[in-house]
Subunit: 90 residues, 2 copies
Amino acid sequence: MIDVPTGWESRGKPAALFRRFEFDRYGQTRDFLDALAALSESSGVHPQNINFGSKYVNITLDAQEPTLTGAANPVLAEQINGLYTSAARQ
Amino acid sequence: MIDVPTGWESRGKPAALFRRFEFDRYGQTRDFLDALAALSESSGVHPQNINFGSKYVNITLDAQEPTLTGAANPVLAEQINGLYTSAARQ
């Protein structure tokens, strides 16, 4: 079984994780992207793809960093959820 | 006639501009993304969509900021080309 964190969808095989994050203002989007970059740099793990416009960010975590379940990294997905909570609240 | 800056493709009607930028290292990609964010903030014009992974950035400029030609902003495209030259050289 694949552990899919809140708000994420499991897609494909091996499973990638995907989530769309929406924001009210560009400033929130920017804060989220900056926090995401800092997380990538500190962890050394980069999402496979990030797709954004002024008020949304779509993130795909691929299965190249397998966990014991063979899925995309659910720990990273949970960390990203935490960044979203912080950015969207500002 | 639409003025299409070097390396960009004109797509659709009204014309959007699209370009893929490739990098040797994530650090260059990051520098480019940071410069792009600074340009967006100073100009107040945001690309419609930015799609990136660790070594590439795809940018779409839509036609919502029309110039006299009705095309996506070629001035912004040229400015982005300048940022690429700087980031890819590092």
